[in-house]
Symmetry: C2
Subunit: 354 residues, 2 copies
Amino acid sequence: MRLLDETVGRIVAQDPASRAAAKSRLDRLTMPHWALGRLMDLAEDLAGMTRSLRPPVERKAVVVMAGDHGVASEGVSRYPQEVTRQMVCNFVNGGAGINALARLAGARVIVIDMGVAGGLEGLAAEGKILSRRIGPGTRNIALGPAMRREDAVRCVEAGIEAALELAPEIDVFATGDMGIANTTPSSAIVAALTGAPAAEVTGRGTGIDDECLRGKIAVVEKVLEVNRPDPKDPLDVLAKVGGFEIGGIAGLILGAASLRKPVLVDGFISTAGALIACHLAPRATDYMIAAHLSVEMGHRIALRRLGKKPLLDLDLRLGEGTGAALAMPIVEGAVRVLSEVATFEEAAVSGADK
Amino acid sequence: MRLLDETVGRIVAQDPASRAAAKSRLDRLTMPHWALGRLMDLAEDLAGMTRSLRPPVERKAVVVMAGDHGVASEGVSRYPQEVTRQMVCNFVNGGAGINALARLAGARVIVIDMGVAGGLEGLAAEGKILSRRIGPGTRNIALGPAMRREDAVRCVEAGIEAALELAPEIDVFATGDMGIANTTPSSAIVAALTGAPAAEVTGRGTGIDDECLRGKIAVVEKVLEVNRPDPKDPLDVLAKVGGFEIGGIAGLILGAASLRKPVLVDGFISTAGALIACHLAPRATDYMIAAHLSVEMGHRIALRRLGKKPLLDLDLRLGEGTGAALAMPIVEGAVRVLSEVATFEEAAVSGADK
């Protein structure tokens, strides 16, 4: 708990002076005022996060947190639980969506086993993944809490540690997730922390049909009834209705924020982790960049609570950090605009009328 | 006119067999079905355009067409006409928004003088820009036609020639524009070809205030009344209410389509050019990718007419090809997904239930 408390204590707001200096330069670039819109807003944010007019963004990592979920036995996913483990192997072999998109973005993919059923000791021993296992998957949250409170702290602290360890070689973090059935705990977290009804935050996940969706909504309702997570206590929410990888994502975000580094938040599961982070340390939102708006219906509600507008809206619903990887060039574009575009004076271009 | 007719004659639909082969692979990738949404739609399109399951997209160029507009004297822009020429110098010196974003995307920037007031002979002689000058700017379309019909043909053919000349070394084209006051002819083109009223397709351009916007709408209405462009004759529309660079953009798109190469269409001015191209050769739309939705209010109406959904929506309103450059990584991402992600069989991952 000490690492978590210390990390939360180190998270401070964006720097107003750096934001103002960036705005002053952006105001004078050779283009109609603020003509690159949200790219310029993002440049101002990045300056505020990093305290720099040349925010470093070149060294990028997508941290994919993997974990299993006891609630998979309630039939909330179209895939068997073994797919979590198989997909971790796919990540290691470079064959998954996140591998293709991270290669394009020039980002490293770092996979952390937060608690995959069946174990991945071989890959961890070979150094192909990091092991921060809390257990062999959460318990079934339709019957009781996912994990003990101390395990929730351990998840979050594992994410913080990952950020601290990677920090010397990473400028921009991105969150990713893998875990069969993990839209169900994410829906429960978003419902618990926003007060939205289960039916408004529960979607089709891997592509379940209408009947299965009705069942999934009933499961989320039951999860909330059985566990009664305390919305004022984010660790209680994580412990009762969360997941190991979701706690890891929350921790990664807190770690990045404490280091004053930007963190691209991927889709619905990542945003559930971001909500936990935001309730632990509201200022952490200053370092979050919402990468995209997912198809998963609760995502919009969760982003609204964070006060974030997503950069992309491409009907993605894969997770793994794929939306975050796709948004990385936009982050780099924002920095290029701030640092490479000439001002009216520099380029001897006539300004606008008053 | 012969080059234009021949080019239009060579434009054929996307290849259904290549689309089907791409879809078949995308259907089996290790992810929930079509979980990368519009990225997968785009991959299917790119396969259909290029007749390949590994669509080449590495060698990219933003072709920035520059031209001046007599209608600038009506007070429709916040900037003096000399800015067109100054910005071309800024492009050549690498200091503009498009330079920064094209560098990030790994794209060449090719500037073509279609008719900038004052001339740019020095830069053309040094080989820093291409010169395809039709004249020293269009005439004031509030008083009569922009150019002669044969000049409209010359504009479009200059764009086609640019595509043909660049084709051996370019896989993906992107359109860009520079021309003070060029949202006004673009609004007139969109109004003429879609039938939308001037007030619905005329926006703030460089950032004019309410009073100036009312005046600009009145100018567009007058332009349409004075010239009465024939909506069934896209060359008549271009000649009467268009611009040299807008015709060049239409030609570049037709050239790319005739070569079966994708072309990223930037913002409002580029989309006005794309509308001209679509009315000359409806199948050209098969090769267009709408890069982004601009703030400029007529853009949505023009995109709807083209049947295109933009990839990005970031409140951009700069032109120059900046939105197209920002969208290039998404195009490359689509290809990576198609060509690099493993199928369920390849990765030995369990499939979904039926």
